[in-house]
Symmetry: C2
Subunit: 253 residues, 2 copies
DNA sequence: CCAACCTAACTGTGATCACAGATCACGACA
DNA sequence: TGTCGTGATCTGTGATCACAGTTAGGTTGG
């Protein structure tokens, strides 16, 4: 199975720890709330990150005990994490009760793509009309980062994946609809493995080219507050990425 | 807390047990696969049913031990069920780590309604173009059942809720997109508590009236294969229900 | 009479153990 | 040589226990 995970690599505190608690007397105002993250939640986050980054290949089987050992925790938190991820389709429990990363069929991938067009397209429209100037600049920052990663020699795929994700979700969050962002996250979690597994193998040049173009059009539309154009640009981005994945093969059935 | 649940009331076998295994020699062709449902899955289904039926009020706190005792199982399967339901927002774990049914704010309800319009509207369009004649007749059957429940004296709210759910999901399944149905189920799970809690208190006449009308228009559109009309009818249904909920109050903040 | 404390019951979380089912490899029989 | 039975090993599932944190209720001190 080979889970390439250190026991909680990276800073465990991703939550805003130093959140200001308004005025307090003495030094009490300076201490932040302790991190009250459950072990199960940390394991969930760890597995989720591995999934969207494409580090876990579709069809790969997971063993609760192995994951638990790799992460240095008991089996219990892993069970909870797997339950959650299986609940929203990021993992899959076979009738044999074995746990694995779902393999996407061609039909399933196309369905997912259509849903992404509908939902993320709606989010783009919404964001175009409601985004603040700061939010648009934030998106522009990620677009620049993506361009740098794509045009580097050789292309920096890891940075590109990260910038692409940040850009898209900055856009979706600008729509101001938390449940919508949640839904899109679920879609990405399902599509993540093939999407980024592919980008990892590929130089990413092709995708980079059309993606850079689509991102530029998206940003221009946002600045013009042009909702239909924003939707069209995002749809182009999704469609070109999907076409590339399909042509690259790697989908079952 | 008062969980009004019998230990697994109703038939546990909702899965197609007698699925034919094609030709087999002797009597082996007649035996079906045994039901291999996990306790955790059964508890999940039980809680899910309580939620969509509005039997668990928003804000109500759940205790793992109490639920476990009420269902006659250990705490373990309940933990798994709550993990899953909390993962897709059907339940909520407070920072105190207490578990409760989420209370929907007015803003949250409106966001949910907008998402329903986008997603279920898309499903209706899709179903209008791809539904088979049998599927349309199936929907018609539920529409008739809904009409009977709504026009009965007094209105049979329980049957109405069930027929309404069956009708909608028969429509969504006719679109032939499993992930789409899954997404809509999640939306209903979130909106279910207020939606049906309200219908339980209310005679349901008002809602019944406009709903019957919308359902009839929907069915006519399906028979004409008129996708935009189907979408419009469904949107009317959702909008009128939402307006009724909002006017009835019961939403936080 | 009100506030503060303090205890007791209860909460979810995590670990550990027990168990049935699945999987795979090896070996025996046809 | 091919196939079936058999064993060990590993799987997820469920139960039980231990523990820290919260909450509610009663009591004490002001």
């Amino acid at each position: 199975m080979a889970v390439p995970v250190q026991p909680f690599a990276g800073p465990a505190e991703d939550a805003p720890v130093g959140r200001a608690l308004a005025r307090r007397s003495g030094a009490l105002g300076e201490i932040g709330a302790l991190s009250r993250e459950t072990l199960g939640e940390r394991v969930t986050g760890e597995l989720r990150a591995l999934l969207v980054a494409g580090r876990l290949a579709p069809g790969e089987k997971l063993s609760l005990r192995r994951v638990a050992e790799a992460l240095g925790v008991s089996m219990m938190p892993v069970r909870e994490a797997v339950s959650r991820l299986a609940a929203d389709g990021a993992l899959e429990v076979l009738p044999n009760r074995a746990v694995r990363v779902p393999v996407l069929t061609l039909a399933g991938f196309r369905e997912l793509t259509r849903l992404r067009l509908v939902i993320e397209g709606f989010a783009a429209e919404e964001a175009a009309t409601t985004a603040s100037a700061e939010q648009i600049e934030r998106i522009a920052g990620f677009e620049a980062a993506f361009g740098r990663a794509a045009n580097a020699e050789p292309p920096d795929t890891a940075a590109g994946v990260a910038a692409n994700r940040d850009l898209h979700f900055a856009l979706y969050e600008a729509a101001g609809m938390p449940s919508l962002v949640e839904m899109i996250e679920r879609l990405w979690l399902k599509a993540g493995p093939i999407l980024n597994l592919d980008m990892r193998h590929e130089p990413g040049r092709l995708r980079g080219g059309s993606a850079v173009q689509a991102h530029a059009a998206l940003l221009a539309a946002l600045r013009r507050r042009d909702a239909p154009a924003a939707r069209a640009a995002l749809e182009n981005d999704i469609r070109s990425a999907a076409a590339h994945i399909e042509s690259a093969g790697g989908l079952a059935e």
